[in-house]
Amino acid sequence: MAKERILEVENLTVAFKTYGGSVQAVRGTDFYLDKGETLAIVGESGCGKTVTAKAIMGLLPIDNTTIGNENSKIMFNGRNLIKLTEGELADLRGKEISMIFQDPMTSLNPTMRIGEQIAESVLIHNQISKEKAKEIAIKMLKLVQIPNPEERYKQYPFEFSGGMRQRVMIAIALACDPKILIADEPTTALDVTIQAQIMKLINELKKDLDTGVILVTHDLGVVAGAADRIIVMYAGKIVESGRTEDIFYNLKHPYTYALLQSVPKLTKDTSKKLYSLQGTPPDLIDPPKGCGFAPRCDFAMKICSIKTPEKTTFAEGHEAYCWLHHEKANTQGVPELILTRGESSGK
């Protein structure tokens, strides 16, 4: 099936100026998004997931941030978003590319009616009357399954629960029928039972509206059911990317392995302690020369902290950056799963 590519990111870099030096938050990432597809970006805190998402939206603080270099591209609709002015970006935001955030409790304006916050997005991007915008807002409230939308339109955020507010955020994001929805940890701040509802809603709406979704999360449980493809990020770089089943059942990078090991499973022997990855991600003011994960990696070799690993391709679209796949690698004690070549067997 031929898919329409709607977003293409090439060699994206983001650096923040701080008093301590320049923080290299994102250090050259390449990825793409197809129409109607869900792409998950996973990794632990501080590895550059959210910064990548905000860079696409142009929502990073302008003053002390450097986005991209001469080779960097964020291609959308034939335009390089890095080169656009703030005004041009504002026209895209909310209309073509929308974003929802981690904490629905603080993401809505407390002194503005819910309905007006949805209608505002419609009014900014379309030449329509206030009445028509209100109609669309009520329709959106209905779409995100909020009961009594006419009543709820007039209420304020404090009258909504966390899950309800995240639904409103989704309604705001989808009000103009965007091509891309970026969901930055959309369920992290919610109860587990609500998490499932919100993810289900995002999935359903994505199918109905044929929107491409970039799902930023550290929760692999959320990813498993929702994503078509996964990107694993560490220390500002992509370490592995591939189809969801490849990442879960045929993973090729020790970091991905460690992430999956630390997810609790119902079927597992409960007498054993849950695996926990030791240490913290490296300081990105002075990024490591080699593989960022080397200091925490159980299978690290000499080369790992000296030279950045090359890309190894395993199957179509399944790639990993790890020295273990080099022919001279010392693979003693490395789990068989990481080393085997070929297509995913889990499919």
Partner: protein
Amino acid sequence: MGRFILKRTAYGLITLFLIITATFFLISAAPGDPIAAKVEVMPERAQEVIRAKYGLDQPTYQRYFIYMKNLITTGDFGESVIYTGRSVNDIIRDNAPISAKIGIIALFFQITLGVLLGMIAALNRDKFSDHFIRVSVVLAICVPSFVFAALLQYFIGFKWGITPIFGWGSFKHYILPVAVYAIGGIASYAKFMRNSTLSVMNEDYVLTARAKGCRRARTVRKHIFRNSLIPIVTMTGPAIAGIFAGSFIIERLFSIPGLGQYYVKAVSDTDYTMVLGLTIFFAILYVIALILVDILYGVVDPRIKIAKGE
């Protein structure tokens, strides 16, 4: 709403009762004597007559009951000990409006200019306009008002002759005292507004507004402005009450017959009835102002629900 006002009025009355009682006994216990203050040498006999006239020959608790009875039944604050023949009510009626006129005009400029300057500083953080406003704010807060008064009187009043140097009567007499009165307030409001705007600008909902495509002007107007006003409302309560009290310093420097002068003088004269009467008057204004502020809160911030009497 009605229930809320009723409830707050009841609390206000209790507060007033406590203030009156405390003030009454404190001033009675204070050393000094209004009669002695008025005239240094006076025959014993004459003093006794005057004491009897004001009831000062009676024990304190009895005076308290008499005072309270008069106050509640007639609303009479009594006659001034110093300004013979004038009741405290007369003095308030004649002089409070003068203080209030200056105060209201000054407060208007304080809030509008202060909020405006604070917003400008916050939106241009670390740029020239921000630094300029911040330095001016520190200066305006630190330099006492009598210095400004003297400067303005010298240059605008004396050297350039644009306004009268002091006095009371015409429209021109307002300009200098209002300017001096407003300057400190403008600075305080600007400072608070700047801080409050900066913290609102970092809120998640401002990011949401940008994410849905609001341009800067719209983000400021629709999402930042109203939310940054909330702390400012808190500041206006005492300020509203303060405008009737006037400023002793400003009224003194510009020779304005406002209430502030009377209040300070009454304390140094141990003018029992004046101190009590004016204290009660200001306390009533404070209580009303605070109720007003709570109502205003509900207007600015929908989370505060007055309608349900909470």
